[in-house]
Subunit: 369 residues, 2 copies
Amino acid sequence: MPQRPPARIGDPIAAIDTPALVLDLDAFDRNLARMADATAGLRLRPHAKSHKCPDIAWRQLARGAVGICCQKTDEAAAFVADGIPDVLVTNEVVAPAKIERLAALARDATVGVLVDDAANVNALSDATTAAGASLDVYVEVNVGADRCGVAPGPAALELAQRVATAAGLRFRGLHAYHGSAQHLRHPEERQQAIARATEAATMTRDMIENAGIVCAIVTGAGTGTWRHERDSGVWNELQPGSYPFMDADYGRNMLAPDDIAFEQSLFVLAGVMSVADGRAIVDAGLKAFAFDSGLPIVHGGPRATYVKASDEHGVLQVAPAAEMLARNDRVWLIPGHCDPTFNLYDWVVGFRGDRVDCVWRIAARGALG
Amino acid sequence: MPQRPPARIGDPIAAIDTPALVLDLDAFDRNLARMADATAGLRLRPHAKSHKCPDIAWRQLARGAVGICCQKTDEAAAFVADGIPDVLVTNEVVAPAKIERLAALARDATVGVLVDDAANVNALSDATTAAGASLDVYVEVNVGADRCGVAPGPAALELAQRVATAAGLRFRGLHAYHGSAQHLRHPEERQQAIARATEAATMTRDMIENAGIVCAIVTGAGTGTWRHERDSGVWNELQPGSYPFMDADYGRNMLAPDDIAFEQSLFVLAGVMSVADGRAIVDAGLKAFAFDSGLPIVHGGPRATYVKASDEHGVLQVAPAAEMLARNDRVWLIPGHCDPTFNLYDWVVGFRGDRVDCVWRIAARGALG
């Protein structure tokens, strides 16, 4: 049983129950169009870990996306249950129970997964064969993020060879994602990080192809660096996830003159509960935002700063006093980090102009398994 | 539709799907007993914002709690729907739609709420009267947290007089909670903060009683300071919320020799997905923990440190190499902050010994309205 939706289609924005996760659909549509246009000719497979919402995934597919990414088996299950035909789990799946669930999903959709371990390849092959299914498999290469993945070069080739000969598995190519490059603040830093990743990915792909294995897809990239992967000559599939929404942390990335900017379309609409001495207390705190990337930012008027959060309260400092807020005023807040903020809500409320246009279920919220 | 439960009653712990929120029921029971014993003679009204779980609230009531607290109207609704007979919303409820929902709840249970504004008193009175119900009302006094609440003294008296004469409302007393004192690290700092709060609360209560209004209850306190409120002579109801569970942040509070310590009973059980070069990657990241109070802490072996989180990955540094983890190993992690971490899960898995003893629904998870 999800929580009660905070709004109904057709409601004025003023009637949305706070706090609510709200989406400016015009800005969202422009963001989708901008990315689709800028990546024409390549495969766009947006990351759905950001939104966890099948309704949003369908809109990305309608704009030409080849499928979506997610990071958990249960996230993938939520999208496949909604009919999404092609889902890549950009992660290693190693627990036996999860492998079994993943193999079962692959009967209903095109499902992909990453590997960085030979024993895991065998386990995936066994489960997929037992399920009478077939999994797309990508070798994850560590191109600088130092998280999962094998080293570029021979280790990746060895694993690709193993996948290519394993029953039930289809070797599709390389997953090369430089997560920690996404939020490097200076455009040159991001460009340089992806230049190094490009060398590693190219060398590895060439080594695999020279060994006679088709490496059809090199997939990766995020909202901070996608144009560099696009222009690299090696990636042919891009996975940005935050571009439809943006957040305060991406807003702190400096852009190069020829970078494409995306608009902030995602907000938390909060209500003022109490006021005193230059401060206003809103009803959105630690359970209404993720705080890993800093505090939310007040959008539009008033000149206020979100300075402190507790579980269900946010403290705004308001200056000058002439702009003091009143109880029941609404405040639009930009989340610090969109992905884990989506994960706090059962619903996202889309609006156009001053009306609620849709209330979408965040079906994979909490899908951790 | 909640997510699939990560375990079944009777499962061995090794069969719990990761990541999962798990509760050591023996430690939990000891914590409940310790607090019940230490507060005998006072009213204990544990805060349920920490757990959002009716099954846990029932166990607190069974140990003598007079009711529970929560912070949101929709949280209260989830507990009242489960039959909890007495719920105090330790917050101002000012939005008209929320006031209407709160008044409706007051038909089914004893429901309390805070006020810090005269117009809000009128709105609550109107809605409660219209609903044919009665609300318990507490005047919130700012005793140092500088969040909501009126100043101690005359402002509180004026509001108490207004409540006492308002139809549909029952003036019950003062809410005096010093939230920011809970995590002062040194016991003397906490003691001094509550000593100042005691003066403010005592003066305000006496002023109200001297005006001929019965101020039956002074309620407040948290897991960091409750013994000072207990011993203050003014508080007669205590609201600690984290003591059944504890977390890494409370673990950083230094205790005085005569403080009562509570045991860490709450963990996130994570699984290792990938290993390399002194690091192990677990399946619990930004969506498995709240990070407002810092990173999770590795519990028990191995000698590893959780050093970095991304959406669905946690990076552990493992040293020495001899203790390196393997794929599918389990790691027990202590959340930085228990309240917003509970809010990420649909289920909490209770265990005794090496077996799953219960799987409780976190029914008010995501109840933001």
